[in-house]
Symmetry: C2
Subunit: 328 residues, 2 copies
């Protein structure tokens, strides 16, 4: 079997997750990792793949079918996406929801000029959660959709705590409030405030001699990040943080409830994820969509796509015949 | 706005559900219901639509964009699907899983000869459950998928009870066993027997003077239907049956658990439905896919399709731009 040849751009948590996910998909192989660091300083797990500098991508144009862009959404992807898709099919996990329309346009233009496919905003939210919002609201046209996140680590909120004076290290869990989830499941379509949907659970390592009360106060009143939530702050040691909080779990729920017909019949559609490792799961979604990008590109399609545009069968290693016979 | 013009073939529970679902979708209108009965004996809810005989379909070839085939899978659809798709785009809910491959081929051949689209096996299982099995196993390549059905009415099992001597009426609920669902959710990938996954809950109206013990015995030992399950039988009156068991609720769970990476990280993907009305929900899915059939047909595509082949965006009333801006 001819394998789908993958390149990874950026070797952080997601990049390493993609490398591991490729090992679990027989029809793929990793050809190269591209890094901004000194390539000789980056050790990867795949023996047959090479590590190269960002600037050397073009030298492998004929050896890579899909480039997995594993950079950040704030500064990396907005530049990198439109650039790389000029020469390669790309997958990324661009997740700044508000900027997706503009980013899509930029990737689309370059993808068409280069004759390549770019599937953007792949992962679980945006990604699988978005898909479930779409399916559910297309079926239950009148109704309400709710998304709950967690329990899981929010990198942005953890970083915000770490910037407070006297904080040595910190981790923040977003926790969905069970009572709210249960209310939604009844189909009553409640109006929920921010405070009613999630709480924020913080574990903080203070510097020696730091004013813990001031830190707790600074966290709980931080605008945008914490002030609209019920927040708990627990001070722990660096050792406890390493021992008990070094994993990156996450997950959540997409629930839509709505009515059909004329007799008040109600329905609940629920999709949920419980993930031990957010980056490894995200990477596994990216890899499935790499298969779709490869297939679309081989049929001559080009331009930007999102998960909304991809027929599900394109994600599977099974043929359409096998899918119809085995899991339809 | 030009509306999508729908025809309904067969006016049973699903057909009536489709009529109600059309009312909840602004971009659609019902043009005609086709029946095997005397058309003058069939009263429909839509004022502007007509009731015609099966044989008169062709007379409306230019007035209907998509035909919703609402007949049964046992004898109706195998004949009707390939016939009607010669002249119309069709949607159906063909649900005899084992016969889907052959049915697909038959519809595909006629659809291509007629230049139409036929989306088969649409609903929730096959349908939304199949989609979730596909997405989940494409992401978690190593893992196990479990489907639980219920609590819900199984028409086939209810009919089987009604055929027993001395039974006047009966209804059977398929009930997922909570302990099994919870075991699956732990990610332990248990091997579950038929008996461990579901139980069968029967409410039976006996004829006067009938031998209730014999009826209970006949149910519990019935091969294929009940013998491999724990089954409870409760005798009730016809009035109780009408009062408490005349709705058609259903639902269930698709759960896949699996591992990623090399550190034993586990993940749980769960999709569940809780439906007050099985036929109304099924009909709502059919109507969303009618939109996709219409759009595909307008771009010149033809042939048979399943939910696996349909890009999710095609189901929504929103444009791709609106979808990216609002729910991605």
């Amino acid at each position: 079997m001819e394998k789908i040849r993958i390149g990874i751009v950026g070797y952080g948590n997601i990049g390493r997750g993609v490398e591991k996910a490729i090992c679990r998909n027989d029809d793929m192989e990793l050809k190269a990792v591209f890094t901004r660091r000194d390539p000789s300083s980056v050790k990867i797990a795949t023996e047959d793949a090479v590590v190269k500098s960002f600037d050397e991508m073009l030298s492998m144009k004929d050896e890579i079918d899909v480039m997995m862009l594993c950079g950040g959404s704030a500064t990396d992807l907005p530049v990198m996406g439109p650039q790389v898709v000029e020469n390669f099919n790309i997958i990324d996990s661009f997740d700044t929801h508000a900027k997706i329309p503009a980013y899509f346009e930029n990737v689309d233009k370059s993808a068409k000029s280069g004759g390549n496919i770019g599937i953007i905003s792949v992962g679980w939210d945006p990604g699988m959660f978005s898909l479930n919002r779409l399916y559910a609201e297309s079926i239950l046209v009148q109704g309400s959709t709710y998304t709950f996140w967690g329990k899981g680590v929010s990198q942005g909120h953890s970083d915000a705590i770490r910037r407070i004076e006297g904080v040595k290290n910190a981790i923040q869990y977003t926790v969905p409030i069970e009572e709210a989830v249960d209310r939604v499941r009844t189909g009553s379509e409640p109006q929920l405030t921010t405070r009613e949907k999630h709480l924020r659970d913080c574990y903080v390592v203070a510097e020696e001699g730091a004013d813990k009360e001031a830190i707790e106060q600074a966290i709980k009143t931080m605008p945008n990040y914490f002030d609209e939530y019920d927040t708990t702050v627990t001070f722990i040691t660096e050792e406890e943080l390493k021992a008990n909080h070094s994993k990156m779990p996450h997950g959540g729920f997409v629930i839509r409830t709505g009515e059909t017909g004329t007799d008040g019949n109600k329905h609940v559609i629920e999709y949920s994820l419980k993930l031990d490792s957010n980056p490894e799961f995200t990477a596994s979604v990216l890899v499935a969509y790499a298969r779709a990008a490869y297939r679309l590109s081989r049929t001559g399609e080009c331009g930007a796509r999102t998960v909304f545009d991809i027929a599900p069968a394109l994600l599977s290693q099974k043929t359409p015949e096998e899918l119809r016979a085995s899991i339809l």
